[in-house]
Symmetry: C3
């Protein structure tokens, strides 16, 4: 499906997206999903995962402020999604900063996410390669992680997205790049996490590769529009949410290379 | 008390409002309460509830990102509020999505909240009627839930508010409606949760029915003002907080029907 | 080091700051640290503290939405920071509201934070003096708490900052004051918590007293700039983040008295 058809469908269908994400990102991610046209639900209690995940159009899992109880819910939700063929997206935030987090990321990756999204350092580290990441920030170029992305895509049957100045997307065979956005984007917390949530919304609407591509394009288009009016990271955020809502389906194709 | 007297009193008294709310809403709800003129306190540790709730002007409980430890704190806080005749507000967010959440909502409702606020689907489901809610969103009209609201008000001795395009308020006998606001409001996460927190601030200031009515009116007035300047959901949020702070007491009567 | 040299160094070095803060403040504090030019990391799992804190430039601990599991992580992180001579900042939010919270604040204070930041009521109460604080708000003047600040600084070997209309800073011997900012600042939640996180970023860059002074000055400069354009607390937040990013090193000296 073409990106413009996917955005049209997303707004028509208003899919319910189950998001298990970190405390920093929850509000922003929910607003991003709403602005795009879908319906986010932040739910993490183990008592309700098995009942809730199966009624959603997609699931997204982000390990940003990970702790043991949340990890258990993430695994349960991924299992529930897989059992019902519900697409799900994994965001292995800063997993290279500790053994604890690395194990959690590998445990979730072994569940074979439909889509895996990370920055270059996260993708390199998931594939066992050394990188230069620092905390939540990437220290590596997107280009340097493309081989790791292809390898992960093949090994886990996932569509893999590396976000950065120019995004890279692969399913191990096909490849795409998305340009645009703004250098202000990494200066705002939780935008990458919100990109993951938006990928969930698109994945509820169409095939995984196409969905990830449309979500990347939607972010870049909105980021470019916001950058034209922003005077700093505070006003960028405001214009970015407005731009996500105001993006027209026909705009998406322009940023895909 | 008339809405304009309540807003004047709220700003004079700056009441302390104990909020137990969800991770998505915490920041927004605190800013809404501050912008209106009261003092929010987000506290949930079971070790301090019994000491803290009784010194507050009101308590608000929102089950948005519910988990077992938080549920225990919610029950303890409602018990402490009832023991001291401190008004409290219940927001049964999306309780219809799982048995776990339904039980939590019924457990809290059985504690007889001073005010109960929900969307139409939440109010219908609390009264045992089938609805069309999806996640945190209502799928039912406010009109369809008015009977359920009256029934709940009578059964639990609560003032019941249904928020939507036109809000409905009842204590089982009296009724009121509040119009205004903006279609952008449901596109922004946690505004309903923040309305609940604001009801707590007003409930610390005057009688429950009047307080709920003033809080509904304050939101609608600020929503209408923000909509005039917003270019999307991002700028709406900014203008909405400004408008909450800039709302004059005399403005509130205009939206009450 | 002079404030302007510290801000230049902060932007050059982009230090990694480990923040254990409350749910209300997490997003805002991360954005404040990013806007200033450093890299925040919100990490609290006990499984990764011992591995992560030592690789950071500084640690900040804020007890805003305290609970027992988080307290254990805070103590572990302070211990790890002390073991490696990593500077850390303590923010004893509203510790006077319950015995539970008082004990937590005293436990952390006994670990001898590099910098202690609070409002006047918090600093008075830490020193065992009665104050008029209410929830997260100060009810006392900065002047009234200066003696308590000096006493705490001497007893615990900490630099102590009292924030308010005019900030006060002391290490028990030296003193400084910082003016500017805006009366809107206390009307926005989590700005004090974010000031604490920013002090961590500066403390990663230079000596504690100088770092705390530069962080106070950066906030006041940005607050004054934002106040010129704000129409209420919503737009203030937006302009404040923009102003933090746009503050020039030479601006900082102007607000220090």
């Amino acid at each position: 499906m073409a990106p413009h058809d996917l955005l049209t469908a997303l707004r028509d269908q208003n899919p319910l997206v189950h998001c298990i994400t970190n405390y920093v990102a929850m509000n922003v991610a929910a607003n991003v999903v709403l602005a795009a046209g879908a319906s986010p639900a932040m739910v993490h209690a183990p008592e309700e995962i098995a009942e809730f995940t199966p009624v959603c159009g997609a699931l997204t899992i982000n390990i940003g402020t990970l702790s043991a109880p949340w990890q258990a819910s993430m695994v349960a939700a991924a299992t529930a999604a897989n059992a019902q063929n519900i697409p799900w997206v994994l965001d292995p935030v800063a997993h290279f900063i500790s053994d604890y987090r690395k194990r959690a990321a590998q445990l979730l990756l072994a569940q074979r996410p439909t889509i895996l999204r990370g920055n270059a350092s996260e993708i390199l580290a998931l594939a066992g390669e050394a990188g230069a990441g620092k905390g939540a920030d990437s220290g590596d170029s997107v280009e340097a992680a493309q081989g790791a992305a292809k390898s992960l895509a093949t090994q886990f049957g996932s569509v893999v997205a590396i976000t950065g100045p120019v995004d890279y997307l692969t399913d191990g065979t096909r490849e795409a790049q998305v340009s645009g956005g703004s250098p202000l984007m990494p200066q705002i917390t939780a935008l990458g996490c919100s990109q993951t949530a938006l990928m969930g919304a698109y994945a509820a609407t169409g095939p995984a590769f196409d969905a990830a591509l449309a979500a990347l394009a939607h972010f870049k288009v909105a980021g470019s529009a916001a950058a034209k009016r922003a005077e700093g990271p505070g006003s960028f955020q405001v214009h970015f949410l407005d731009a996500l809502a105001n993006t027209q389906p026909a705009d998406l194709a322009q940023v895909i290379g």
